[in-house]
Amino acid sequence: MSDKLEQELKKALRRVEPPASFAERVLARAAEEEKPGAPLRPWPQWLGMGGLRWAAASALCAALATSGLVYHHERQKQGEEAKEQLMLALRITSSKLQIAAEGVQQMNSPEENQP
């Protein structure tokens, strides 16, 4: 890299003076922010923009976790209901089979087969 170009770049990009009373305007705005009636920031100062992003990400994770738990709970409840229905159906079937078996047994018993 040529020294000549670097020297010219340094000259072209030398620091410049800010407009007159720049610092005073900054300090006035800062003092304005601290006045009791100054409009509040929409989020606490300690939160900041980085904190806000983290809070939003955390809220999203919490919402996803909650919806996951609710879904899991609903699925479990549906499974238990299906299991109960199946057990009821089996009990009904079992009692019907019992009746049928008794009928068959009566037909096959010696007393009933006598003329």
């Binding site: 170009l5 670097e6 340094k10 610092a23 705005r29 003092a31």
Partner: protein, 190 residues
């Protein structure tokens, strides 16, 4: 007189700050760093009003976050980094207004105390015009390198980009600048 009003209100401001923030007096920091912050924004945006807007926002952000900064060196690094990012954001938001800076629109350099280091004003203006046409990251790297005399690692940290990217981007910037104004500074095109 506005400054008296500011000074009177300042007591309340400092009373709310932490011990460290008191140690790093905000007013002193503004006066110490106003040239650095304004110049980065000014050279990047090529517009005095826009540079003042960005610079004021940067110092207000410093005011709000002063208690989190650990030392004067940290303040300098933080100010440089935030000014770079806010200037780039500002340029993106106002892209149509600042798409291309013509020779006539390019502002004159504000007065400099040390006129011996001013150099050829026409050449400096031409250089700034070419710098204004560089892509934003490349432009900011050139500004940090030659305005702030920042090292390559410092630039990489400030802009949060890899060191090798800084090196290659600066190399390309040199090539572009040499191609466009090499003859004016007594160098042939490469």
């Amino acid at each position: 007189m506005p400054y008296i009003g500011v000074a009177a209100g300042w007591g309340n401001v400092t009373s709310a700050a932490t011990a460290l923030a008191n140690q790093l007096n905000f007013e002193d920091l503004v006066r110490e760093h106003e040239r650095m912050v304004f110049s980065i924004a000014y050279h990047f945006l090529q517009n005095g009003a826009a540079a003042e807007e960005v610079s004021q926002d940067v110092f207000l952000a410093l005011f709000r976050g002063l208690s989190k900064l650990e030392s004067r060196a940290h303040v300098t690094f933080w100010l440089r980094r935030v000014t770079c990012h806010r200037s780039i954001d500002y340029a993106r938001r106002n892209k149509n207004a600042a798409a291309e800076v013509s020779w006539d629109e390019l502002p004159e350099q504000p007065p400099e105390n040390n006129s011996a280091q001013r150099g050829d004003p026409m050449l400096s203006k031409r250089l700034r015009q070419v710098i204004a046409t560089l892509p934003e990251k490349m432009r900011m790297i050139v500004i940090l390198r030659y305005q702030e005399d920042a090292g390559l690692e410092e630039i990489a940290k400030a802009l949060r980009i890899p060191l090798n990217t800084v090196k290659s981007t600066l190399h390309r910037a040199h090539a572009i600048l040499r191609e466009k104004i090499g003859a004016a500074i007594g160098e042939g095109n490469v």
